[in-house]
Every structure is written in C-alpha cells, then in structure tokens.
C-alpha cells in the first residue's frame, strides 16, 4: 500500500493520517484519555506514580523530570556510610520507565506556573501539562543552622540525600584515627525518615567496633524522644556496649551554633563538643521547586487533600512524598511509594470524571542495627474527612525477641528493598 492508499484508508475510518490521531483513536476506544501528566522528581514517589499511572491508563503521556540519570536511595545508604555496601548497590536508573513509554527528561525545574499549566526547565524547555505531580523530596533549612551554610556540607556532611554526601561521610570515618569521636546530630520533627539517624548511629558503631574499637559515637539530638527508641537503645547496649551516648534535646542535645573549621558544636545548654567527624542533619522543608512555586505553607511543607494528594494551593497539581503534609504518615520512601499509587488512581479517576474508591496507605520502616539485626515499625492508614490520614493498625517489633527474630527482620529489610525498588524503578 502506498502512502496515498494509506491516507485514503485512514480517511475511510474517519480519522486523519497523523499518527497522533491514530493513538488518540485507539486510546479513546480503550477508555484512555491521552492526557499529559508531568511528574517532577524521580524518587520513590515520582517513579512509582509514573508506573502506576500507566498501569491504570496506558494512553497517558507521561513526562518524568529528574535531574539525576541515576537515583541513589536513602534506604540502605547507611550501609554505604558504614562501608558495607557500594553506592552502585543503591543506584537505580530510569531504563524501565523509558521502556514502558515514560518520557524521562534529565533537567531541573526552574518554575511551575499553575495558572497556565506550564513547567519551565533549566534547559530552556517548557512543558505543558493537564495534571502535574510534584515529588521533590526535601531541602534543607540552612538558615536555621547558626554558623553553617550549604557549601559547608563538604566538611560537615548531612548525608541526608544519598550519593556524594554518603561517600564524604564514609571517607571521613575511614580516615579517622582509632579513639576518635563521631557526632551525629538529628533534627527536630518533622524530617525525612524518622528512624534513619538512629540506624546510622548503629551502623557507624558497627563499622567502628570492627575497625576502630576505641572510638565513640555521641548523639546530640534536638528531640527528647525518637522512633523505635526502646529498641534502638536496647540494641546499642547489646551490640555496642559503651560506644554510643545519646543526649536528649532538653538535656543538652540541642545545637546552638556550629564552628565548621574546627568541627565544634556549641549547645543551647552551654556545652562545647569538638569531634573528629560530625554528621549534622539540618532541619528540613519541601524540595525547592515546591517552595519557590508556591505550593508550601509557612512551615515549608505542602498542604494537600489527603484523600487524593491534590494540592490545597492549586487544582490539578498533586504533591506526594516527603514534601507533602500527609497526616499521620511519616516522611519515608515507603510512604511516598504508597502515596504515589493513590495519587495515580486519583488522577486517572479525575480525568475520567469518576469517583475514586477510598484510599488505603501503608508504611513500614525497617532499620538495621547491624547487618544481622533488624527492627521495624509498620502501620496501615485510612482517610477520613475530619481526621485526615489516620492509623488503623500496626506496631513495632517486640522488645523481647531472640536472635533469630532480629535476623529474620534484617533479611526482610533487604527483601523489602528489593521489592520496593522494583515496584518504583523496575
């Protein structure tokens, strides 16, 4: 059939010869909408959302904007810091997303204009959308840390976004002398991954116990209590006796000022702590684009309808993951994955003009106290108009448990990692 015949053939079917229209015709037959959805941020939230959007409606035109060609996960980055895993083992690319038809653009978003439904990229491109999903993760409130600015993280790493920061901290630990002091300084709530700093303390202690056993880890906490506290403290006593000291916020843990050059921390209580390695995790807010484009509130986090994750600031824009205010859910990769699926269902339902069934959310945070010692906290969540997202069940690992139980949870932590990274990036 020559070109003319093909055109005639298509005319016969009542559609034009343009391939776009063929796609439109096909998708309209399969209840597709062919709508343009732009997703900003390719972490657990954004990557999951892209995948599940296409599962629910394969006609959608999905664009995923993510600066990095490889995403390095915060989960298991503490194993990289403790020199037990490589960065490669926590890196995931976007080849599976591309194969399923997601257009992946490696660029940074400069601005979102929700009035005209447009996203401007730093490569000069402008993308139009029918629905926008923001999954920008976190940014740091450097203004809240006296004496320290973003570039100082080369000397005092936060390692709260995985990648180069994780290796800076690892190399500092490796070059420290035996008998040195490591300070970990977790921030006030809310922040990304509530049990994360304490898993880090554990795995740093694990590294030190093997390589530099006279060293110590001092935890200067902004808070008076923390996630899975009883389990962590019991584990530290059991695995690393005498190595870990935790100071609560009201008993001298809160940091007033930092002297970067000498790695000295001054506390509110008037104490001075000089260390060989300092891991200060700054207070946080929504990822930059959500703040600069007007989706966050005065606290720096993004209010959303917790049934759909549609922004309270703008219609047809959704904010998921760490950046969002999600009721009782913590800021975690698991939570972002769970929200990404609900958000995908909400977007497809809204495009079809139908009511989405009630959402259900889950979170589980595994923490490793050593490679063979795992603990977890799990919860199931529902939504209610008055209460927002609330918990319907769940709990933490038992305080009384044998070695086999802790080992099994450590194995499940790895199994969870394999599954969730496949669910999001695979």
């Amino acid at each position: 059939m020559n070109r003319f015949d093909r055109r005639k053939f298509l005319k016969l079917l009542g559609i034009s010869a343009a391939p776009v229209s063929v796609a439109g015709f096909l998708s309209s037959c399969s209840k597709g909408t062919s709508a343009r959805v732009v997703i900003v941020g390719g972490g657990f939230g954004g990557a999951t959302c892209a995948k599940y959007l296409l599962r629910f409606d394969s006609s959608l035109q999905i664009t995923l904007v993510e600066p990095s060609e490889k995403y390095m996960t915060c989960p298991f980055s503490n194993m990289v810091i403790g020199d037990m895993q490589t960065l490669g083992s926590i890196s995931h690319d976007y080849s599976a997303q591309k194969e399923r038809g997601v257009q992946v653009i490696h660029a940074k978003v400069q601005a979102v204009d929700a009035m005209v439904r447009m996203v401007a990229l730093d490569n000069g491109k402008v993308i139009h959308y029918d629905r926008l999903v923001l999954s920008p993760g976190i940014d740091f409130r450097w203004e809240a840390v006296e004496g320290m600015n973003a570039p100082d993280a080369e000397i005092i790493p936060h390692a709260w976004r995985a990648g180069r920061q994780s290796t800076i901290l690892r190399e500092q630990l490796k070059s420290m002398d035996d008998g040195g002091v490591v300070i970990v300084a977790p921030p006030e709530n809310p922040y990304r991954c509530p049990p994360g700093p304490y898993e880090r303390v554990s795995l740093i202690a694990h590294y030190l116990k093997q390589h530099k056993p006279k060293s110590k880890v001092l935890v200067l906490d902004a808070k008076d209590k923390f996630s899975k506290q009883a389990l962590f403290q019991q584990g530290w006593d059991e695995l690393y006796p005498g190595m870990v000291e935790w100071v609560s916020g009201s008993k001298g843990g809160r940091i007033d000022e930092v002297d970067v050059a000498t790695r000295t921390l001054y506390t509110e209580s008037g104490d001075k702590h000089k260390a060989d390695v300092v891991n200060l995790i700054p207070p946080q807010k929504s990822g930059e684009v959500a703040v600069t484009s007007g989706f966050s509130n005065e606290d720096g986090w993004c209010p959303v309808d917790q049934r759909t994750f549609e922004s309270e600031m703008h219609k047809d824009v959704y904010v998921i993951g760490d950046a969002s205010i999600a009721g009782k859910m913590p800021k975690s990769g698991f939570a972002a994955n769970s929200q990404g699926k609900v958000c995908a269902a909400a977007i497809v339902s809204s495009l079809r003009g139908v009511e989405m069934p009630d959402p259900s959310y889950v979170n589980t945070c595994y923490s490793l106290l050593s490679p063979e010692y795992g603990i977890s906290v799990a919860a199931v969540y529902r939504y209610d108009k008055d209460r927002g997202i609330y918990k319907t069940g769940g709990g933490v690992s038992p305080v009384v448990a044998d070695d086999a139980y802790r080992l099994q949870e450590a194995r499940y932590a790895r199994g969870w990692y394999d599954s969730i990274t496949m669910d999001a990036f695979g």
Partner: protein
Amino acid sequence: MQRYLIITFFMFSAMLFAKVVLSAEITRGAMLSNSCAACHGTDGRSPGEIPSINGKSAEFLSQALHDFREGKRPATVMGRHASGYTDEEIELIADYFSSRP
C-alpha cells in the same frame, strides 16, 4: 487492498485488546492491595526474600491474613499489618492477589 484492510483491522483489534488488558482497573481491592506491593513486589511478585503472594488461592490468602491478625500464625511484621484490615478488606485483598498471574 482488501486483504491489507483485513490484516490492518486485525492489527487494530489486537492493539485495542492489548490496551484494555494492560489498563488495571481502579477498584477497592486494587486500592487496598497496591500498598502490599512495596514489600511483596508489584502484583505480589517478589524478587527477593519476602514471599510472593500472586496467584495463591483466595482461601489460602484469606486464611493466612486472618491467622496473622489473630496471632495464630507466627510472624514478624505481618501480624501488625493484618491488624489494620477488616474481614471484608481481607477478602478483597485475597481476591485481588489470587487473580494476579
């Protein structure tokens, strides 16, 4: 020409069918079950240490979830998870994963 039309028609039909099959329905069962995938893998197919749950019989899955919830089946995290679901929700989840290939 006519033969080509017929072939094209079948190709179109196949594509339509493929699209319909590919699009997962947004049901209550799916809303409940999708969150299980973070640990058990997409559609319940686990690539690692955590057991796969796709294609198991609805009776088995329902019984297991009830037993986890009532503490009759040894577990680490599943007893805690199962506590968050009603009998009706357990049936929907069991039906969903039993129908995953």
